[in-house]
Amino acid sequence: MFLLAEATSNAAVINWHTVFFFVVAALSCGFALAMLFSSNIVRMAFFLVISLASASGVIFLTGSHFVGAMQLMIYVGGTVVLLIFGVMLTAQEAFITMKTKAGDWVLALIVGGSLFALLTQAAFSVEAWHSTDYQQDLVKEVEKFNKDVIASMQSDGRAELDVEDRKLTKEERVTLSDLQKRIRHGYPELTGQIGLALVGVRTDQPSVEATGYTGYLLPFEIVSVHLLVVLIGAAYLARAKKRSAE
C-alpha cells in the first residue's frame, strides 16, 4: 500500500481537484459495495446508477469531458435503464429479494479478490502513474526551453531586431510544437481529435512513425458490429411475439 501513499503524498497538494477526486471515488466504490450487499433488486439497480454516474464524474475530473458524457449517456442512460426495465418486467412479486448463500460469498470473494489484485498490480506497474508530478516535469521542461530560446536569441543577435521579426529557428519551432502537443495530449478536449482518432488518424500524437500510435479504427469497428448483432437479436425476440399473435 506504500505505493499509493507515496504517490498521493508527494503530490502534497490538497486542491479542489484531489478533494473532488476522493469524493467521487468514494461514492463510486461505496455504492458499488452497497449494491453487492443489498438484497432488494430495485435498490441494487439504483445503487448501480449512482456508482456508474460517479465513475463518469471521475472521467470528467481527468478533463476528458467527451468520454465522461459518453459514459453518462451510454452506461447510465442506456444500459442501466435497460436493466431497470428488465427488473420491473420480470420481477414476479413487487419486491423480489435475492439472498446469496454462504458458499457463493466465499467463491465471490476469491474471484473478486484475485481480479482486484490483478487490476491494482497492473495500475501501479505503469511508471508514469507513480507520481502525479508529470505536470511539474513538463512545466520545468517548458521553463528550460524558454531560457534556452531567450539565451540563444540574445547570443545570435536576434534580440537586436524589433519584436515582430524575432522569429524562432526551425528546430526551435518544432520542439515548441512538440511540447504544445504533449501538453495538449493531456486533455483530448477537442472532440475533433477523438472523432478522427476513431477513424484511425491520430492528430494529437507528433507522428505515427515515432510513437507507433495508430487510430482506434479496429476496436471501433468491433464494437459497432457487436451492437449490430445485439440490435438484430432484440428485433428478432420482439418479432417472435408478434408473429404468433397473428
Binding site: 418486467l89 414476479q92 425476440l237 417472435a240 411475439k241 404468433s244 399473435a245
Partner: protein, 401 residues
C-alpha cells in the same frame, strides 16, 4: 387497431402474467360510479367486466306506493342530465294508459322543452368526452353554454337539474312571458359556438386519432345488444323514435320538419357546412357516435325554432295537470321515447282499484348501451377504455335506477 381477433387464443412466447386491474368506481373518467374490472396483459386488455348497481335506489319498488303524479320527481333522478325527457316519457305513458289527449299548446311546449334539454345533455356528453381524452378546454366551453340553457329552464320551472315540470296531463305551468324571445336569442348566439366545438374536437387530428376506428360496432351487433339513440345511429341504423316511434309520441312532432341524423351512403344529412367524415373513421366507431350527437344538437335547434313559431300561433289552454287522486283505469301501457342517450321505456300496470299503479317499470337506454362494452373492449389498449365508454355516454343514475 390493436389485435382484433379473440385474444384468448393469443399465445405469447414471453409468458407475462395477466393482471387484474380495477378502474373505478371512483375513477374520474367513468361518468359516475361505474366499476370496470380489466384483465390486462401488459397494455392490452383481454377482458372487461363492468360492475354496476352502486347507484341503485329501486325506484320501481317506490313506484308501487306512489300515484303517477308523485312519481314524476323519481323519473328526473334517473337520467339526471335530461330530466325533462324522462318526465315526458313517464307522462306520455300515463296519458296512454288514461287515453288522455293534450291541447296543441301543451304539445308544442313539451317539444321545445325536451329538445332544449337534449341540447344540454349532449353538451355534457361532448364536454366529458373531451375530458376523458385529455383536452380540458371543450369541457368548459360546453358548460358555459349549458349554463345558459339551465337559466332558460330555470325561468320555466324554477329548477336547474330536477325539473318535474312535464307531468301526466300537461305541464305544471305555462311558459313565462317573453321566454320564447330569450330562447331565440340563445339559439342565435349558439350556432357559431358549435363551430368552435368542431374545431376543438371533431376535426382535431389527435381526437380523430384517438376515436376513429376505435370500438367499432356493426349495425347487427348494436340491434342485437339493444343499443339505441346516438349509439345505434352511430352504427348506421336509420331508427329514431321521434319519427318511427309510437303514434302517441310521434304525434308530438306532427308538422315538424326534421331528418334523422344517420350516415346514409357515405354522408350525413345537412352535413354541408359541418366537418366531413375523416378518412380513417369507420361507420360504427366512437367518432361516429360523437358526430351523431353533435349533429343532433343542430337538429334540436331547428326543431325548437319551429316549436316556438307553432307555440306562438297555437290557441287554447296549455293543459291541466292530472290530479293526484285520479283513479287509474285497469290495464297496462308501455311507451318508449327518444331520450338524448337512447330509447327510455316506461311500463305501467294498474289493476283499476285506485290511483296507485300495481307495477311500474323503467327500461333504461344506457343499461343496454353499456351491456355492449365488454364486447367492444376486447383486445384493446387501456387508453381506449375511456374513449369507448365516453362515446357510449352512459349515466349511472339511469342504469342503476
Amino acid at each position: 387497431m390493436a389485435t382484433a381477433e379473440n385474444s384468448q387464443t393469443v399465445e405469447f412466447d414471453v409468458r407475462t402474467d395477466e393482471m387484474l386491474v380495477n378502474m373505478g368506481p371512483q375513477h374520474p373518467s367513468t361518468h359516475g360510479v361505474l366499476r370496470l374490472v380489466l384483465r390486462t396483459d401488459g397494455e392490452v386488455i383481454s377482458e372487461t367486466t363492468p360492475h354496476i348497481g352502486y347507484l341503485h335506489r329501486c325506484a320501481e319498488k317506490i313506484g308501487e306506493n306512489l300515484t303517477p303524479r308523485q312519481w314524476v320527481p323519481y323519473t328526473d333522478r334517473m337520467d339526471y342530465l335530461a330530466g325533462m325527457n324522462m318526465n315526458l316519457g313517464w307522462s306520455l305513458t300515463v296519458e296512454k294508459l288514461m287515453k288522455y289527449d293534450l291541447p296543441d299548446k301543451a304539445r308544442h311546449t313539451r317539444v321545445i322543452i325536451s329538445e332544449l334539454n337534449r341540447i344540454a345533455s349532449h353538451l355534457v356528453g361532448m364536454g366529458t368526452y373531451g375530458l376523458d381524452l385529455g383536452s380540458f378546454s371543450p369541457f368548459l366551453y360546453a358548460f358555459r353554454e349549458r349554463e345558459k340553457i339551465l337559466d332558460l329552464l330555470e325561468d320555466v320551472c324554477g329548477a336547474r337539474l330536477t325539473y318535474s315540470y312535464i307531468t301526466p296531463g300537461g305541464m305544471t305551468a305555462d311558459l313565462p312571458k317573453g321566454w320564447t324571445k330569450k330562447c331565440n336569442e340563445f339559439l342565435d348566439q349558439f350556432l357559431p359556438v358549435i363551430a368552435d366545438y368542431h374545431a376543438l374536437l371533431t376535426t382535431n387530428a389527435i381526437f380523430v386519432k384517438r376515436t376513429a376506428n376505435v370500438g367499432v360496432m356493426s349495425a347487427e351487433m348494436a340491434i342485437d345488444y339493444g343499443c339505441s339513440g346516438p349509439v345505434l345511429r352511430g352504427s348506421g341504423v336509420d331508427y329514431d323514435l321521434r319519427r318511427d316511434g309510437e303514434e302517441r309520441y310521434t304525434s308530438l312532432y306532427d308538422g315538424y320538419a326534421f331528418e334523422v341524423i344517420v350516415e346514409k351512403d357515405g354522408h350525413y344529412p345537412k352535413d354541408h357546412d359541418y366537418p366531413n367524415v375523416p378518412t380513417d373513421a369507420v361507420l360504427g366507431d366512437s367518432w361516429h357516435r360523437f358526430y351523431v350527437r353533435m349533429l343532433e344538437v343542430i337538429q334540436s335547434m331547428d326543431i325548437i325554432r319551429q316549436g316556438i313559431d307553432f307555440y306562438e300561433s297555437a290557441t287554447g289552454d296549455w293543459g291541466t295537470p292530472m290530479k293526484i287522486s285520479t283513479k287509474l283505469p285497469k290495464g297496462e301501457a308501455y311507451l318508449e321515447t327518444e331520450c338524448p342517450r337512447g330509447q327510455m321505456g316506461f311500463y305501467i300496470v294498474s289493476d283499476g282499484t285506485g290511483p296507485i299503479p300495481f307495477r311500474v317499470r323503467a327500461r333504461s337506454s344506457c343499461f343496454s348501451n353499456l351491456s355492449v362494452a365488454p364486447e367492444l373492449c376486447k383486445g384493446i389498449l387501456i387508453a381506449d377504455i375511456p374513449s369507448i365508454i365516453g362515446s357510449l355516454d352512459v349515466v349511472m343514475g339511469e342504469i342503476d335506477r
